[in-house]
């Protein structure tokens, strides 16, 4: 199913089981944050893991998705799913514009350009009236799903977030294992070869970028509804850095790595929070350790040990 290998199918079932059991044991709002960030990391992984482009500005799409979902929810009182979908579409539209500019370069230049473009989006959000500047969009109602389910209940909201996450996760997986995904991998391995075979590689890269931004926007929109607030934190470059770290820690280009990375990092933030800026220091240390000694990430190392692709 969806191109999972046997090992991946087992891992997928374990993940589903955990998603079902955890809210009865742990604080659901905390779990919802993990799921949102995990979906965001999966979106990011699509670019770095399968196209080989490191976007250092993914917060722009996540944050814009979050703003649009929050704004439409608050002012138009629409269905929660419609608001989240609008968030995703905004992410995709922005991705199309910024991606068109950024894919002209690759490697570190791509990283720097995406960072700079995201910074521009950040300043735009700071000045634009609809975002509320530093105040953010506050007291966003969670609203209803299909007019039936009242999402102000944490558990109802949790199941919605869980379903969105699983759908997003499967979509990323489907993209990777489609013929389109095979071309992307071909481009990553040897771009001149792909060009000589007649592929318009820039178009492929751009489409992958837009898809990634779409999912990032959905993740941002979902997060905005869960917490009832959309702020500059979501578009800040620190958020971009965080998603890079999650994916790197879990394992670049692995299927389950981003989810593992998001779980570890969000939990760490939660439990280290009382120690002030030590969270930042720990994040930095993890970054350095990953780069120096641990480049395959947690899932990559486990997979390597078991000789499986996870």
């Amino acid at each position: 199913m969806f191109g999972f290998s046997r090992a991946q199918s087992i891992a997928f079932l374990v993940m589903i089981a955990l998603i079902v059991i955890c809210p009865y044991v742990l604080y659901p709002v905390f779990l919802m944050r993990i799921l949102c960030m995990a979906l965001f990391a999966c979106a990011f992984n699509l670019m770095i893991g399968y196209v080989g482009l490191l976007s250092f500005g993914h917060a722009a799409f996540f944050g814009m998705g979050s703003y649009i979902a929050a704004w439409t929810m608050k002012h138009w009182h629409i269905d929660a799913v419609v608001a989240i979908a609008l968030g995703g579409l905004t992410g995709a539209a922005l991705g199309l514009v910024l991606g068109y500019l950024a894919i002209r370069r690759s490697g570190i230049y791509f990283a720097m350009i995406t960072l700079a473009l995201a910074q521009m989006v950040y300043f735009f959000c700071l000045e634009a009236p609809f975002t509320g500047g530093e105040d953010g969009i506050q007291q966003v109602p969670r609203g209803n799903l299909f007019g039936i389910f009242d999402l102000s209940n944490d558990m109802t909201m949790y199941w919605v977030v869980a379903i969105i996450f699983i759908l997003g996760f499967l979509m990323v997986h489907r993209i990777i294992h489609s013929p389109f995904g095979q071309v992307l991998k071909g481009i990553r391995e040897n771009e001149p070869r792909a060009i000589s075979l007649g592929y318009r590689t820039d178009d492929y890269k751009l489409i992958a970028f837009v898809l990634s931004c779409l999912i990032a926007g959905v993740a941002g929109g979902t997060k905005a509804l869960v917490f009832g607030i959309a702020t500059l934190t979501d578009v800040h470059y620190a958020t971009s850095g965080e998603v890079v770290l999650m994916t790197l820690l879990g394992g670049l280009g692995t299927v389950f790595g981003p989810i593992m990375g998001a779980t570890v990092l969000v939990s760490m933030e939660n439990y280290l929070a009382q120690f002030g800026a030590w969270v930042t220091v720990t994040q930095g240390v993890i970054f350095m350790v990953c780069v120096l000694a641990f480049r395959r990430g947690i899932i990559g190392e486990i997979g390597g040990y078991l000789r499986l692709a996870l």
């Binding site: 570190i108 990283a111 910074q119 850095g241 800026a277 030590w278 970054f287 120096l292």
Partner: protein, 295 residues
């Protein structure tokens, strides 16, 4: 009050001057980035953090050791430079065989660690650093009050930038450096210790950032975030200028500061975004940057 294009003269010149001061910082920081990139092929994301460290070291020298501003201008870059030297030797040098992206990620992590440590120790509210007595006060330029210290910053930045340029372009050490950038194995074959050259280059670039940090200390209160506020804009400056030439990064730095200042006169809301807009235009017309060489 006289007017230029319907804008009060004092306002126009005032903002231009302030833009020039910001430009001085852009120039010094992007110059350091360019020097490091040329030799190590690494985008030094920790540059902002090291700039901040320069400011903090001078603050510490003053408050813990009673060492004033002018000795700090030499000492702080030296201390931070030695710190950079150790970083290169122990950590960064392990990455040269890997994809350049790893260098970016490593230095990003490094920046988080340095900033986090300073935020833990000093909070984020900022520590005041007094302007040295000689440079206190302001000169009435007729159209505005120019604080003497800010004038000094532009002057000092110009001198440092131009001497760096001269060292790289006009001395034999610079010639070796440029040769090693082009073809390291060949230079090594001539008996030059290239790894040591690389280490020294990194330390030099870092010292440049720290020098800028000392200059910035009395203007922006010394706080752990002062580096990140700058560095993202400086990245855009680097993309605009292209990584090719030393002079390119100096000119681009100053020019963008001035453009930012002008924006503050005509459309203040866009002043933070204008640098990025310029970057977009440059990317559309000259993807390699204004002074960039073809790959």
């Amino acid at each position: 009050m006289f007017m230029i294009f319907g804008i009060p003269g004092p306002l126009l010149f005032g903002q231009l001057l302030l833009g020039l001061i910001n430009g001085a910082f852009y120039a010094m920081l992007s110059l350091g980035l360019a020097v490091i990139f040329g030799m190590l092929n690494i985008i030094n994301f920790a540059h902002g953090a090291l700039f901040m460290m320069g400011a903090f070291v001078s603050w510490m020298l003053l408050n813990y050791a009673g060492i004033g501003y002018f000795p700090s201008l030499i000492l702080a870059p030296l201390i931070v430079g030695i710190f950079g030297l150790l970083l290169e030797k122990t950590i960064i040098s392990r990455l040269y065989k890997l994809d350049h992206l790893y260098g970016l990620l490593l230095t990003f992590g490094l920046a988080l660690v340095i900033e986090g440590l300073f935020r833990n120790a000093y909070g984020s509210s900022g520590m005041p650093y007094r302007i040295p007595a000689v440079l206190q006060g302001a000169t009435n330029l007729g159209f505005m009050f120019m604080p003497n210290y800010r004038g000094w910053v532009v002057l000092a930045a110009l001198v440092v930038c131009l001497s760096t340029w001269a060292i790289i372009e006009k001395t034999s050490l610079g010639a070796t450096l440029r040769a090693a950038t082009e073809n390291a194995p060949m230079v090594q074959a001539f008996g030059v210790d290239v790894p040591r050259l690389i280490t020294l280059t990194y330390a030099g670039g870092v010292a440049l950032a720290a020098f800028a940090g000392v200059l910035a200390a009395p203007i922006y209160s010394v706080n752990p975030n002062m580096g990140t506020n700058f560095i993202n804009t400086v990245f855009a400056v680097v993309v605009i200028g292209g990584m090719g030439s030393i002079m390119g990064s100096i000119v681009t730095g100053f020019a963008l500061g001035v453009i930012e200042g002008l924006t503050k006169v005509f459309y203040p809301q866009a002043s933070a975004t204008v640098v990025f807009l310029v970057m977009v235009i440059v990317l559309l017309t000259r993807p390699r940057g204004l002074f960039g060489k073809a790959a």
